[in-house]
Amino acid sequence: MKIHVVARSQAHGEKFIASHAHLREVLEPEVGQTSYFHLLNRLIWSSDEDYACVIHDDVVLSGNFHHLICKLVSDFSKSGTRWGLVGNAGVSTFRVGYGGDTVVRYLSDPHGGANLQGCILPVQTVDGNVMLLNLKALRENQVRLPKFEGFHFYDIALSVESQCAKLGVFVAPHLACYHGSGGDGSSFNAAMSSRALIDYLSTKIRNRYFMSLNGRVTLPVTTEAAAPACDIEIASLENAVTAANTRTVAVVVRTKFTRLQLLKRTLSTVEAFISAAGPATNFECHIVSTENAPDDFILPEGMKLKVTKFQSASDDRYLLVEAAVATIDADFYWFVDDDDWLFPNEAARLSAIINVAPQNSVFFLDCQHYNERGLEDNVAGFYSLPARYFFAKDFIHSFSGFNFTPFCGAIFSKQALRNIHSSVYHSITYYEDFMTLLSTLLSGAFVPIVVEKLYVGISLRSTGNTVTENDRGKWNKSMSELISFITNTERPTSMLSFSSIIASQGKTAGVSFNVDEVNALKQRLELVLASRSWRITKPLRLVARLFRRDTKFVDVAQQLRHRK
């Protein structure tokens, strides 16, 4: 495979070759170019090669660079990945890593260094300092760049063309290098003012804007009906999905079968989610319990029930997690309580992300509390008011000592859950979410992937939620066990020392502090119910219910008789 060096002059080209003597045989200087667009089109349509690497003349390549890019091409072929373009820096559709950034960098330049290790990830666009092109696939899919002049936006154009041709665009550490230039913001802005560029991009993608490494690219509004089909955000995921990477996620619902209507609500939304997820990831619903299902409970089609009995366990919620991992064969596990529900709106996005993410990922999702009022034997009559919103990207703040990620807001791998010693599952009852999260993050072995869409509604009611319990004794006991476990671990790292940095960012109210919010709401409700105006207006409310025929005279009379 040739490495095409786009040299500003003959002298620059010769200097590059001289400084990369180990690559002399594969270097191809491209001197006298007036347009990167023309060069790329020539390579795609006139070259004999199936693959090519195109680089700036101010990059410095490592000794094993050629070996790495050849290996990458080989690995892509073996995995059946459809790809068009790879770079060493790009903008992802999801956030990655402890820093939770959408920009992935595998290079050193005046802006900084690398921010990730080892992951090949799909991106929307790449930076053009080093690009690996699948010329064969680009040709076969009729990819042609516009006939523009100059040396800006060619990388964005090629990324967009690749996405529209349904060829994946990736960043890979194999292309890591040093790049001596930090780019030129004013040149970017000048190019952005090009009407030709805007018109071109508008014919390709439907987005009003997208983020590139140089800044935001804004396009005119078009209606859904008139817009091109390609949504660059979703295309970057779908183009990277491969059948070989189809993983299984067990959606595990822990239950005691004591609130059947709520459980049925949960299960119907899990079914809706699975229906919407598509084939990129295999989602399965598993119900786990220590109790046998009641006779009138009908297990929905396709769902599985696993009953495990524990000896003398006072609170077995975490034991059920351990049992689920031991008995359910899946790559990932997503624990959803039997009174919560899933939102299916962005199921396909999550499904694609799980497919394209590294195997050793941990996924963080947005979720939200809902204050619910109603009778548990009439769940259809519930009114659910949105309350506190848990942002997936706040997971890192859990290093502060307060948990910011509800259990349902994370999807853990089998290995992450197996890493937790059995004694931990036996000792911790409450804070099982925090324990699992810290165990996963502190190991450093799992890549955080943040999906900033709402996936779970968490039910909060006046009774039936541990988070609203006034007696904090069980919480405090679990916290003491948790602290002891994580600080006395057999495989310590220094990652907990990030807590001082995280704490200095000011977020202090973790998941468990919502009890204050709920108690405040309860107090206000109690004030209203005890108020004189509420008592005075009671007969009027009764008349309204009679008028609407929601109650009958005979029932009212009976109530009055009992009151006497």
Binding site: R206, N207, R208, Y209, F210, P220, V221, T222, T223, E224, A225, A227, D231, E233, R265, S268, T269, E271, A272, I274, S275, A276, E301, W341, F343, P344, N345, E346, Y370, A380, G381, F382, Y383, S384, P386, K453, L454, G457, A544, F547, R548, R549, D550
Partner: protein, 288 residues
């Protein structure tokens, strides 16, 4: 509870809804009423697209009617066609394909209608996000009913020629509700009848223009002119031009001027009813 023998439920779906309709919506529908159900549906995307298999599923008779159009057709056009081909006797139920009706939900709509025979439309409540629009706590009257889950009187529907297809998507439900009020009917809200509806509001992306965003703005001009004439159109344009997304507003206005301005049916102009009102941009009700 219900005395109806067969309840017709109409559903217009797209390719992305098929799995949900098959695996979630239809099984839930069987529990939504004690009556037998005739589930009449069609794919709005056009001829040759994915379909729901017609047949029998418990107490559900499924009738999937293939579209004859070569391209996507709108909400009203499809429901009108389903109605015209099946002619439901007394009433029928509109149900969006992304909904999950709760147990007894349809029987509760039917019961409410039996108690309010002058109601042209009875709307059910959406969960988890109830629409914040007003309804009278005593009479349950509401200015307009959402087309996501409503029971509609067949005679009324027939008398007005069905929903107005010019909207394509969005505001047909406001339009048909206003027609109900202006023709002497009532529009009722039944909060006890509940459907799970994961509506898109909180999931809209600001880097894309959704059908709802664009069409709602454009159709706002159409409905304003249709019911309030030139004066209504002028007021609606004032609201639209103050919208913070100027680019989208201009696009909506341009589309309205090019395609609708000169051919909006104005037979309702001059007729008034307290529940037929515009309080702001796409605001036809007080917030509750």
């Amino acid at each position: 509870m219900s005395t109806a023998k067969v309840v017709q439920v109409q559903c217009v779906y797209g390719d992305s809804h098929i799995e949900h309709v098959r695996k979630v919506l239809m099984p839930a529908l069987a529990d939504a009423t004690d009556s037998r159900i005739r589930f009449v549906c069609t794919n709005y995307a056009g001829k040759g697209r994915g379909r729901i298999e017609s047949g029998q599923l418990g107490n559900l008779e499924i009738i999937d009617i293939e579209s004859e159009a070569s391209a996507a057709t709108g909400f009203a056009e499809n429901h009108n066609r389903l109605f015209d081909l099946t002619q439901p006797d007394d009433f029928f139920v509109l149900l969006n394909p992304d909904c999950i009706p709760h147990k007894g939900a349809i029987d509760l709509l039917i019961r409410r209608r039996e108690m309010a025979p002058d109601a042209a439309i009875v709307e059910g409540r959406q969960w988890p996000s109830e629409h914040p629009k007003e309804y009278d706590a005593l009479s349950l009257e509401t200015p307009w009913a959402s087309g996501a889950f409503s029971l509609i009187d067949s005679a009324f529907y027939r008398s007005i020629g069905g929903m107005d297809p010019r909207y394509f998507l969005y505001l047909e439900d406001v339009d048909i509700s206003w027609q109900a009020w202006l023709n002497g009917y009532r529009v009722i809200y039944e909060p006890a009848s509940v459907v799970t509806h994961f509506s898109g509001g909180r999931f809209y992306r600001d880097d894309l223009v959704s059908n709802e965003q664009f069409l709602s703005l454009r159709n706002f001009l159409v409905i304003a002119k249709k019911f309030f004439g030139e004066e209504g159109e002028a007021e609606a344009l004032t609201y639209l031009r103050s919208f913070n997304d100027k680019e989208l507003a201009e696009l909506a206005e341009k589309d309205y001027v090019q395609r609708f301005k000169e051919n909006v049916d104005q037979r309702y102009v001059g007729r008034q009813h307290p529940n037929v009102k515009i309080l702001g941009l796409n605001c036809f009700h007080r917030m509750q």
